[in-house]
């Protein structure tokens, strides 16, 4: 082969490679910088930043917004965390419904839509996940970043060979040093993910939060599903909520004890290290199942997958799965009703620390009207009432 022909071939192949890289790179960059508007509900009285509670997080990607809804009457304080694992969209979408619709008569509600904002800006490496998804609304649709379970390696890299959890010294999976639900209670001089947990712990202490609810979704092959995971301090509350929901809301949810020896998780460490009761909610998300078929937006939002159905027929699932799947409205509706039931039961038991919320749809209403009906058009909103995640 003549000398210059060889170099021409290399040049063409490298150019083709670069074209591919540019296409992928533009998609990654755009998804990382996609702006997600939040049109504040009338009930939001203040918006703070996480760095208001810990300066070490200022200027970082995880200096997230905190939407604060205050009632006229004093009462208890509740913190709702969305986006601990952003690839569980039911979690963040529930916080959107709260921040855009809730109004508080008594007590205070703190809502964080992107607890691990860094993790909202990346998708599973090599996973071929969709970069974003759109929730249809009466005014068109609202686009959200897909996100991942772990903080973006662009914000925290490299991972250590072994991750030793602080302060328990328990050895956890190395990758979980970027998992916000493995780094509680965090530390001030730690990694970005640890600092984020530390900042949240400062918020919980300073604002005297009574209950923290961490919203999640789980694969059907995981035994902790459709349940409230409760710290000892919240066991009665969770058990009562589970009974009330199963009796009145049209779906059933279990209750599980937070294992005392499993460290780094919100339901364990927040309860251990602060005055707050910590609860974690799980809803079923077939998109996360290892035996799923095509990993696309449709599966993410409609939760239908023939391969997961088949896994169910082989007895491999811990939740029912049929051709109706687990649409995102069902998952978000579960979260909304569970939060409302927990608040109602808490308020009954603790009249001085009541948290009375209105404007939040329940399970049946979210399914009937769709999530998009509770998202407001930023084009028609007062620009001062729009925040971006």
């Amino acid at each position: 082969m003549p000398f210059n022909w060889l170099y021409l071939r290399k040049f063409i192949l490298i150019t083709l490679g670069l074209v591919l890289m540019v296409f992928a790179g533009v998609s990654f960059y755009e998804s990382r910088h996609l702006k997600e508007p939040v049109v504040l509900s009338q009930g939001v009285t203040q918006v703070k930043k996480l760095s208001d509670y810990f300066r070490g997080i200022r200027g970082t990607i995880n200096d997230s917004n905190i939407y604060i809804l205050e009632g006229v009457k004093p009462g208890g304080t509740i913190l709702i965390l969305g986006g601990t694992h952003p690839e569980e969209p039911g979690s963040r979408l529930t916080t959107w419904i709260l921040a855009e619709n809730a109004e508080v008569d008594q007590g205070r509600v703190f809502v964080i839509n992107s607890a691990n904002r860094s993790a909202t800006t990346v998708t599973r490496l090599g996973g071929g996940y969709p970069p974003d998804f759109t929730i249809p609304t009466p005014w068109g649709g609202q686009k959200f970043r897909m996100g991942d379970r772990w903080s973006n390696p662009l914000d925290q890299w490299p991972d250590p060979e072994a991750y030793i959890h602080y302060p328990s010294r328990q050895e956890l999976a190395y990758v979980d040093i970027r998992n916000l639900n493995r780094t509680w209670p965090g530390r001030a001089n730690g990694t970005l993910t640890e600092k984020t947990c530390y900042a949240l712990i400062q918020l919980i202490r300073k604002e005297k939060v009574d209950i923290v609810i961490d919203l999640h979704e789980a694969e059907l092959q995981y035994p902790v599903i459709s349940t409230i995971v409760a710290h000892e301090k919240g066991q009665d509350l969770a058990a009562l909520a589970s009974m009330m929901i199963s009796g009145t809301e049209g779906f059933s949810i279990g209750m599980e004890y937070s294992p005392p020896a499993l460290h780094g998780l919100s339901h364990r460490e927040i309860g251990d290290h602060t005055q707050a009761i910590s609860l974690l909610l799980e809803a079923p998300e077939p998109f996360l199942d290892a035996t799923r078929g095509r990993t696309d937006r449709e599966l993410l939002l409609e939760g239908k997958d023939e391969f997961v159905v088949k896994a169910g027929k082989h007895g491999l699932l811990f939740e029912k799965m049929d051709e109706n799947g687990w649409p995102v409205e069902v998952r978000v509706g579960r979260h909304c009703s569970t939060i409302l039931q927990i608040l109602e039961l808490w308020s009954e038991e603790n009249p001085g620390k009541s948290v009375m919320v209105k404007g939040v749809p329940r399970y049946a209403e979210v399914i009937e009207k769709g999530i998009g009906n509770f998202l407001h058009d930023p084009a028609k909103a007062d620009s001062k009432r729009i925040y971006y995640e």
């Binding site: 290399k10 192949l13 490679g17 890289m21 992928a24 990654f28 960059y29």
Partner: protein, 49 residues
């Protein structure tokens, strides 16, 4: 922070080695293989993923 910078330097060095090897290959199949291997290194180096 220092470790992160070292890892970026390492990524740049490995990218350079891959390109160097790519230029020395004689078979087109190997050239394509090197280009595919190079891609994640460049995406990290340019802070795209």
């Amino acid at each position: 922070m220092i470790i992160t910078i070292l890892y970026y330097l390492l990524t740049a060095y490995i990218s350079f080695l891959i390109v160097w090897n790519l230029l020395k290959r004689k078979k087109w199949q190997e050239e394509i293989l090197y280009i595919i291997i190079l891609m994640p290194f460049l995406l990290r180096l340019f802070r795209l993923k």
